[in-house]
Amino acid sequence: MIEGLNPAWLLICGALLTPLLPRGIVRNGFMLALPVLGLIQLWGLPHGQYAQFELFNMTLITLRVDSLSFIFAVAFLIAAALAVVYAWHLDDDLQQVAGLFYPGAALGVVLAGDLMTLFIFWELAAISSVFLIWARRTERAYRAGLRYLLIQVGSGVLLLAGVIVHFRASGSITFEHLDLGSPGAPLIFLAFGIKAAFPLLHNWLQDAYPEATVTGTVVLSAFTTKMAIYALARGFAGVEILITIGVVMAMFPIFFAVIENDLRRVLAYSMNNQLGFMVVGIGIGTPLALDGAAAHAFADILFKALLFMSMGAVLLRTGTVKGSELGGLYKSMPLTAGLCMVGAASISAFPLFSAFATKSLILDAAAREGHWVAFLFLLFASAGVFHHAGIKIPYFAFFAHDSGIRCPEAPRNMLIAMGIAAVLCIGIGVFPEALYAILPYSVDFDPYTTTHVITQLQLLAWSALAFSVLVRSGIYPPELRSVNLDFDWAYRKLLPAVAVRVWDGLDRAWTCLTDTVERQVKAVIQFLSLHHGLHGQLAVTWPTGSMVLWAVLLLGACLVFYYV
């Protein structure tokens, strides 16, 4: 333990040293040691503010440990360690450096005590993370990465603009609760919203994450959105509008997830949905709700990593994660299948699995504060999660009809990483007190009441039933082989179909809007290139006479201006 050393720098500097080490056990050991040492360092730091210094006339607090940043930092370090183990087999400097640098930057974000430091790490995280997408080294990934980078850096610029305005108005730069009405705060809110993938600001997530490398997606899934959740919890706890935003976030991805074929993209949608729960928790803003948001973020990092890891293993072994091409893999990859199902059970909030212990905090808080509409929507969303993430992912990958693919089991290091994640998921589910102990407000809560368990089991049972029925009746989208529709079941199909239609309509309107904007932008660019392009008036070499003419014109203008 070194007094005042920011674990973020430990990871970042270590990441930069990584390529200098000999490949193999030395480098792998070193990479694993970094997050572990970071965790020890973090654990040893008493709560407080460290490493303050002056940057022109601002006081930067580059390291702040308190109960809210602590739990996120712990989760980040665990995720970083898991990702290192998962990527142990890799022989790629780029991914290894980015895979540690990016978690380090994200760690810096949650440990930042002021908005300027927050912004710096915010941008560092954006820039370092894109390499995990580019590391796939395909044209498609390159394009997706560029789009991703544009949005991420845009979020950073908004943040900076907000910070400057906030600083001008308040003279303070410390990162505490911000009043949404105060100058600059809306910009900051929007910047956070982009990274938290608020509805309509979410597209970058589904666009970019599935394009990253096998290990890259695992790393990406843990940090960017969660650091935005942290930032929202710190800055905008209790802002009413977050409840609405969160509910929409939890609801809309369900329909997209159901019809999506790329299983990693399904997981990206389900990520939106989980983030929605956390955002609702932050919007409610009571200690119980905030604890719920933090706890759920913690659990989500683990089970989402586990799910992405299992899909990554499938992608690595079979070369595809298309639901329609997979199936029957449990014969070839039984361990991966088992671990994936632990992740699926966790995300679906089965009793004795992690999300059960964390999501109930949010649901309970919603109920206690009388947000009944939000509560009901979240209940529905919980059922939806089970549907698309809990059942669909393992079902189409490992069961369903046998695709005939026969491949080896996942590499050992992947299995170890998944195993640890699975143990943690179950651990949190069985002994939630351990997690509750490090929650920001350490509320007293018992998830295992009869009501909770029964409600949840009913929900899951009905959701499972719905899925079985839909699959049996052949209505379930990706497996349309035998369609035998009975009228009884029509409404079951009708409901999602209508919803999908509505969303389709909205989607089309949105596309139409973006298309129009795109056309306008193209027109502007064309106009600009006409005058500013290589051979435009403003870029060519002018005859000397014309240059002189300008000088004389300006002189004349000045004389007129000054005389009048």
Binding site: F56, V153, A161, H532, L534, G536
Partner: protein, 492 residues
Amino acid sequence: MIDHLPALQVVIPLIAAPLSALFRPGRAVWGLAMAASGLSLLIAILLLRQVLEQGVISYPMGNWPAPWGIEYRVDAANAFMLLIVSMIGTVVIAFARTVVEQRIRLPEHKQPWFYTAYLLCLTGLLGMIVTGDAFNVFVFLEISSLSSYVLISLGRDRRALTAAYQYLIMGTIGATFILIGIGLLYVMTGTLNMMDLAARIPAVSGTRTIRAAFAFLTVGVSLKLALFPLHLWLPNAYAYAPSPVTAFLAATATKVAIYVLLRFFFTIFGAEFSFNVMELDRILLPLALIGIFSASVVAIFQTNVKRMLAYSSVAQIGYMILGVSLVSVTGLTSTLSHLFNHALMKGTLFMALGCISFRIGAASLDRMAGVGRVMPWTMGAFVIGGLSLIGAPLTAGFVSKWYLILGALERGWWPVAALVLLTSLLAVIYLWRVVEVAYFKPAPERPVREAPLALLIPTWTLALANLYFGMETSLNAGVARRAAETLLGVAP
């Protein structure tokens, strides 16, 4: 000795210039030039320390007292400028040797003349800064201009000749306008000493002659500092000059012209007269804004990277003038800070480009494919310089952008602040084009080696300075602020 520092600041490079013409080509002459500019840097540092501790230094040339003789007058503002120019002068001369030996359109036996011209240019720039006499400014302006025309014409591309010629015409017009302005002031006040002028102008400030002088000075100085739309000489001059010359001129020449602008309009005419009575800011502000936007967009479409950066310089000059037209301590701080920071970032970028063209012969985008892989150190420096140019935090460029935006917000000019942010994104686009080509395109088939250490060391010195001054801001924010307060006359 210590009393004569203001004079030595100019005299040392002035003597070294003709001396170096006597040398044979080789390391000795370079050593002489290096020593002369190194000494200038040392003197500049000493002067700055002295000024910060003891206040303004006044040095009567040849012991002729102030209003009659020529006075050298050093305050926080020009001590800061002296440091910028001599620092860049020293780093670039270290860079120049290898390029001069191999890449300049001069027969070998004439190579020492390069150093003569270079040192004369340095002399002129330092003289313009240090002097407290308006006519003396013109004399040194001519010294630096004439030598810079020579330096530009040494580029290997034959277009360098026309570029130098155009610069000569425009520069001479600019200098003439300045001379006319000074002459008119002299007619009305009978003095050339700046402080004396400042004291006497208010009595006659209502006259048309003073107004005409003001107009001539506005346009003359704007020509020299390449304010849009008087920037047309600049892109070609920078694009076709030899790389050390480009790095040197881009980092210093236009900066000194901006300093002259500040000196004339803040010290001689006074901020009150220039901006409240004459409303100079009404001319500067729109030109600065159009310049920033237009030049940034032009830069996006350029395929010659050197020319791209030249246009980017025009845009950056726009930021500095924008800071001036805010007429506030914060605004001026951003201008002065950007003078320093821009010298660092453009110095780095042009030197890195110099390394690249040294190895691959040109700095066009299509030739630079995959260069990032074969010349990692060079491109590393380029990226650092680029980040600083964009204004990324922890780089020097961030400091000046920060003050500029704060200054704009202070005046309540939201759209201006937004435009500054937006145009920073334009900088991201044109720099990204270079990065994309250098890192994401396949490496060149012909073997290309990393640049020699003699080029890399000066380049990286400036690149690291970009990072250092992004975090340690007592110089480029603290001293800049004091200089701004001095210029506005609100110094404690």
